[in-house]
Amino acid sequence: MTNSVKRDWKSVLLSHEMLLLYVLVAEWLFFFFAGTTTNRRGVIVGFGTLDRQFDILRHSCEIGLLALALTPVIITAGIDLSVGSLLGLCAILFGKLWHDGGLSLPLAAFLTLGIGTLAGGLNATLITALRLPPLIVTLGTYSLFRGLAEAITHGAITYTDFPASFLFLGQERWLGLPAQAWLFLLVAVAVWLLMHRTTFGRGFRTIGFSPEGARYAGLPVGRRLALVYMLAGFIAAVAAIIYTARLGQAKADAGTGYELFAITAVVLGGTSIFGGSGSVHGTLLGVAAIAVLKNGLACLPVVMRLNAAEEMSGLLTGALLLLALTGSVLPKMLSTFRAHRHAAQPPSPSPSS
């Protein structure tokens, strides 16, 4: 009995999420000490300041949202490469509706959310109704959405001059935190509740684990999958609005390459790319680990002197991802290796697991 309790503790402490948390804390402490300095005027500057921490949060919201959007998608063994392009399409449509369409900002935002959901619906239809592989469908829409954004604006038009009341959402603080962080938290909590506290959400895991099994268990697999992709479209539209508010401009190149960061964060967070397992809090930790690494490196004096913050953060993110992947399979490989050895030797008298 005590033994099993102990084991549970051990498995919790060694779970992927906890390991990632240790990495995150270690990263944070390292940068806190190594990335904080005093400047010429004797003011403490760098990673350890509250301002910097808020900046990190502010900069992570859009990629964080896309990562949240991708978590259910990847848990159902799917993928969505189009979210970054959709962010761009939604951003310029939002700008166009407001600027050229003469709509009020809330109405434009509302319509943009609808368009995002519809675009997600296009992915959903192709994937579920025609049973096409999500990788290829979203590769196509990745090109299509960005292409539409460019075709609509001719690549040239940039929507700017948004009113200050809207820019507040992206640039100011509200109740102590960057304003968009509240929206991010809201979405995060909603997705967490959906995935971890409803039978609905557990159904996604079942589908990812075995779609056939889920079908036999009576789950409407097609409809559930469609929902996941539409949700991703909706969240990408939310990210588009936040992005527009943060930069004060909507342009066809918004969010280029964000899908890769988001996928990296999700996988780093312990969600299996083959589906069936993963968690929203893992994704959040993954986003945080990458954000702290990126921003922390830019505060390190050594890295600054090398003028290499951008490249180093890419390099280390890649390395971290490989490390996390290797780490996630090594225990299993070791145990199979041991099992092979056990099978070769006569069974040992020690109590087995």
Binding site: I79, P133, L144, T264, E311, G314, L321, M333
Partner: protein, 310 residues
């Protein structure tokens, strides 16, 4: 005939497109510019062959663009140091094979998902190259371009080489045991194992092979111009994956062939010059490419629902 229906339909689409061009923009078919355009796509074809192998094996490799850049720059630096091309070529291929083998080791050895592994190596290689080269061009000695041949001869050598490679690999896929092993592993790795194939070894070799082909492609690109831009190869992975998929290679593994990939590549490669010839504004390009990809997969989907796949 029925067996190659999917590939023939791509060829048909390509034919219709080319016919349209012949009517509305006959200038497209002037031999010299066409040869230049085709030569520019020769390296892409070599990488697309490799990608077809990987996808038939039910894996994916999105690091080819970064590998291409790394091989280009390294080969360029060696050539600029005065290495003879006969040594630079194998060096580039070996470097590519090595990089591919790293992917292969992680995918086959540790059984990690290839999309994530190659995502990680893609970012790592690209940023590593940025860190070292900072975007600086490599200027090559004059003898490198066209391998020291005349321009037309060089172009013909490159195109003929790429096509010969395609034919050799295409035939090997169909008639050699090794080729069939790739199909077997891609269709059902467990069944392949029971049949005496070592799926992990096949997977590893496929990744090493695509790396080697990428190194070769980098070399073919190097021979076309007197300079190497470290950015070259950016976005190559999406281009070849799209070509392979449009050509009817199933992302779920085990189905498709190199001929289809070839047709798919030609179709997509025609889009940009065709727009120029038809005087259509450039901002439609991405949307059109996306539509072609979607159309191809939707056709696949509709056909498989009707139960027409062989």
């Amino acid at each position: 005939m029925k067996r190659y229906f999917r590939e023939l339909s791509v060829v048909g689409a390509l034919g219709v497109g080319l016919l349209g061009l012949a009517i509305f923009a006959p200038a497209f078919f002037q031999p010299q510019p066409l040869l230049s355009l085709v030569t520019r796509e020769a390296p892409t074809l070599v990488v697309a062959c490799g990608m077809a192998f990987v996808i038939i094996c039910r894996q994916i490799d999105i690091s080819v663009g970064s590998m291409f850049s790394v091989c280009s720059v390294c080969a360029g630096l060696l050539a600029a140091r005065g290495w003879p091309l006969l040594l630079v070529l194998p060096a580039a291929v070996a470097l590519g094979a090595l990089l591919g083998a790293v992917n292969g080791l992680l995918v086959a050895g540790l059984r990690l998902p290839s999309i994530v592994v190659t995502l990680a190596t893609m970012v790592t290689l690209r940023q590593g190259l940025n860190l070292v080269r900072q975007g600086e061009f490599v200027n090559l000695p004059d003898r490198v371009q066209w391998f020291g041949l005349s321009q037309t001869a060089g172009q013909l050598v490159l195109v003929a080489g790429a096509v010969a490679l395609l034919v050799a690999l295409g035939l090997a896929m169909r008639h050699l045991a090794a080729g069939r092993f790739v199909y077997a592993v891609g269709t059902d790795a467990e069944a392949a194992r029971l049949a005496g194939i070592r799926p992990q070894l096949v997977t590893f070799l496929v990744f090493g092979f695509v790396g080697a082909l990428t190194g070769l492609a980098a070399m073919m690109n190097l021979a076309q111009s007197p300079q190497v831009q470290p950015l070259s190869g950016l976005g190559l992975e999406l281009k070849v994956i799209a070509a392979v998929v449009v050509g009817g290679v199933a992302i779920s593994g085990g189905r498709g062939n190199l001929w289809g990939a070839f047709a798919g590549l030609l179709l997509l490669a025609c889009v940009a010059p065709a727009l120029t010839h038809l005087h259509i504004e450039a901002y439609w390009e991405k949307a059109i490419q996306g539509a072609i990809i979607l159309l191809a997969v939707v056709a696949d989907g509709v056909r498989s629902r009707k139960g027409g796949t062989g």
